[in-house]
Subunit: 319 residues, 2 copies
């Protein structure tokens, strides 16, 4: 099983593991619930068991890449803290897993791994300059510039959901004001929809006042069926997304912007508004050669990103 | 004269040249007016003469770094066009200068050179992750991430003055809407001051209505002397600058942000507002280790940046 790596996608709900080949082919996979309530050592135990499962026949030289929610310090291999794994603080994940398995371990946050996955196995395969945006409940992502992950002095960078789009805009869950996430994330769309639902004068005004669950998919579907309130919400979110993509274009001059995550999957409306707005916030010279696409990796983005990370970090052992 | 390079700072008004040593010591310098009205070949001739002047005793192996206004393509060595050198379009500057001098030539835009100069010789010496902002009539700059210049697929990136700060903000000279430059540049401050001057009800309301020249230095001085209109203008500019620095912090996790250019030199008021606003737009983990300083290279930023570029591009010959 040479030329392969072990990939771990650590999420708030599940830990997923796989053996992944050089071409991004998933040779074997396994998963377990994360159950972070048991404390971080129990989670590490499960992770180690999964590595043993999928890697039973893999030489000890086969390394492991871990995609984890951040913020984390990839240089020291430490999870600083993370809203998705309550109670974790300064957890030396790389040390713990490497001691238990004897394997070399690389760690990056899931957004940065997503960018690596898209560049090595996804819809931006072979691209050296790309921005990856993961639109979910929150907005994460990662950036590759001249082939190298942009993660900064402590490896905390590329918080692409938390760039200001409107300096006097709505407050974000991160504590800042006017971030992209405060406009175009799942929670922001839900916030706007709930505001409409509670202030609309009866459900004749808008489908959103019908009392149902107001996630981004519902709002997008209502917008697509002509609901003006829903359309205004999707337009606001899409405009913010377009403005941010414009800013990233002017900063990174990427050849590709890849948009993934559940909110990107709710239909074309959001991206249509983004595409219309983006030119108002970017140079023609840079947007001319830019390709904006959806992620092609879907639910395996984290897993394949972790694999890309391991291949890149330990390329001499895995070639 | 081994261990040195020839640096050229091509500006709209003057061409400046120098021999620069490994420590950023300027061993000899010369300059000429640019006179771009004579066409690009005449400007190239002057540049070649200056290289001959400062490099008279320099071995043919001593390379040349050129800092030029952009947009330009550093890979092909071509100036695409530039507002500061009217009439230039697709000028193959590196080819022209290299044929005339026989020397190796590297080309980058002046903002990116400024970042290299600050990292190699300036107030962020030895730093691998930094953002450089040049606040002049317009706003330029450059970014270094993990030791490498962020310039993107075609080398056009790091347009740090043209990131959206307010998606429904004022129009920028670049054609976009709500760019940092449309708030915090010399021209934006002048625009605001002229608006105040023409709408103020007599000069008792504000010093700005006195009929004098309304450049950023005048507005800053009026703000410092307690003029409320001038202070409102500087506050708006400083808040935009702070929001942008916050966004760059979250994107690049830099250890240093270096602010240079004439508008940065008008006093502490602008930066004070920026420092107050920046925390509202950045993560505490990333801003905690961040140092925000003024450029220490002053008028030599372009020249030393061009030198840094040549040392980096041709390090084997110059070591």
């Amino acid at each position: 099983m040479s030329g392969s790596v072990i990939a771990i996608d650590l999420g708030g709900t599940n830990i997923r593991a796989a053996i992944v080949g050089r071409d991004g082919d998933i040779l074997r996979r396994a998963s377990m619930p994360t159950d972070s309530a048991d404390g971080h050592l129990a989670v590490v135990d499960r992770m180690v068991r999964l590595i043993g499962d999928v890697g039973a026949e893999a030489d000890i030289q086969v390394p492991v890449g871990i995609a984890s929610p951040g913020p984390l310090d990839p240089r020291t291999g430490t999870i600083l803290y993370t809203p998705n794994l309550p109670g974790w603080r300064d957890v030396p994940l790389v040390d713990l897993v490497s001691r238990a398995t004897g394997r070399r371990i690389a760690l990056q946050n899931d957004g940065n791994c997503g960018a690596l996955g898209e560049a090595d196995f996804g819809s931006a395969r072979g691209v050296d300059n790309l921005v990856y945006l993961a639109l979910g409940t929150g907005i994460g992502g990662g950036v590759i510039s001249s082939g190298v992950l942009v993660d900064g002095a402590r490896g905390l960078g590329a918080e692409v959901g938390h760039v200001v789009i409107a300096m006097d805009g709505p407050r974000c869950t991160c504590g800042s004001v006017g971030c992209l996430e405060a406009f175009a994330s799942g929670w922001a769309i839900r916030r706007d929809a709930e505001l409409v639902a509670t202030t609309a004068d009866g459900d004749r005004m808008t489908e959103l006042a019908g009392g149902g669950e107001l996630h981004a998919g519902v709002v997008a579907a209502a917008a697509d069926s002509g609901d003006p309130a829903a359309n205004a919400i999707m337009r606001r979110a899409g405009r913010a997304l377009g403005a941010a993509i414009g800013a990233f274009t002017n900063i990174f001059n990427p050849s590709n912007v890849v948009v993934g995550g559940g909110v990107a999957g709710v239909g074309e409306t959001l991206m249509q508004h983004a595409r219309e707005t983006m030119p108002q916030h970017s140079f023609v010279d840079m947007r001319r050669d830019l390709t904006v696409t959806y992620s092609s990796l879907g639910a395996d983005t984290g897993l394949l990103g972790a694999a890309a990370l391991a291949f890149r970090e330990f390329s001499s052992e895995t070639r």
